[in-house]
Symmetry: none
Subunit: 121 residues, 2 copies
C-alpha cells in the first residue's frame, strides 16, 4: 500500500496547510495524477498512523490532514475568532501512557484540545 503514498504526501505538501481527503483527491486529479478516492483515504490513514501527518477535525466533523514536521502536538483554539496555536504536548503523552498502563490498557490514543479566548477577543 505504497505506490500512491508518496504522491499523496507530495500533494499534501503542495497544498500548504491543512487539506481534507476530498481536497487532496481533487488536487491530484488537477495535477495530472488522478488517483482513486479509496486510495487517497488509504494513504492518508497510513500516514496518520505512521505519524507523518496530523489529523484534526473541522467543526462539521470532516477530517483535515497536514504534514507533520514537528511531531505530535495539540491545538489551542480561540472560541471567538478561531485562531489556532500549535502546542507541544510531551507532558500529556507521558501522562496518557502512564494512566493507560495503570489500567491495563494498550494501544492508547488520546484527544487533547484546548479552548479559550485569545488576547484580541
Amino acid at each position: 500500500m505504497s505506490k500512491s503514498l508518496p504522491a499523496v504526501i507530495t500533494t499534501l505538501e503542495r497544498a500548504g496547510g491543512f487539506a481534507s481527503a476530498q481536497e487532496v483527491f481533487q488536487l491530484m486529479r488537477k495535477q495530472g495524477k488522478p488517483t482513486g478516492l479509496a486510495t487517497v483515504y488509504r494513504a492518508l490513514q497510513k500516514a496518520a498512523t505512521d505519524n507523518t501527518v496530523d489529523v484534526i477535525r473541522k467543526d462539521d466533523g470532516e477530517a483535515l490532514y497536514r504534514l507533520c514536521a514537528t511531531g505530535h502536538h495539540h491545538h489551542l483554539v480561540c472560541t471567538s475568532c478561531g485562531k489556532t496555536v500549535e502546542v507541544e504536548g510531551s507532558a500529556v503523552e507521558k501522562w496518557a501512557n502512564s494512566v493507560a498502563k495503570n489500567n491495563g490498557f494498550k494501544k492508547v490514543s488520546h484527544v487533547v484540545e484546548l479552548f479559550g479566548l485569545c488576547q484580541k477577543c
Copy 2:
C-alpha cells in the same frame, strides 16, 4: 427551541460522561421520554453554542457531548467493548493552564479523552 432542552440535558447528566447524539436519543426513548432525533440534535447544538456542554470527536468523527460543569475528570475508554474508567487529571489541568498563559489565552477549558484496548479485548 427549549421545551426539549432540559430533558436532553438531564439525560446527558444521567449518562454520566460523554454521550453521542444517537445515544442520547436512545436513552430518552428508554426512559419514557421519546424525542425526535432532530430535536435531540438541535438541543445539543444549542447547548454547545451556549457552552453548557463540551463537544469532542471520536476517532471516526462522531461528536460526543458532555455537561460542562460536572466535576473535572477524564475518561479512558476501551474502543472495543466501551468499558470506561474515570481518570484524575490534575497534571493535565496544570499543563493546560500554563500553556494558555504562555499564549495569552484566557478562560481556558480543555478536552482530554483517552482511548485504547482494555485487558479483556
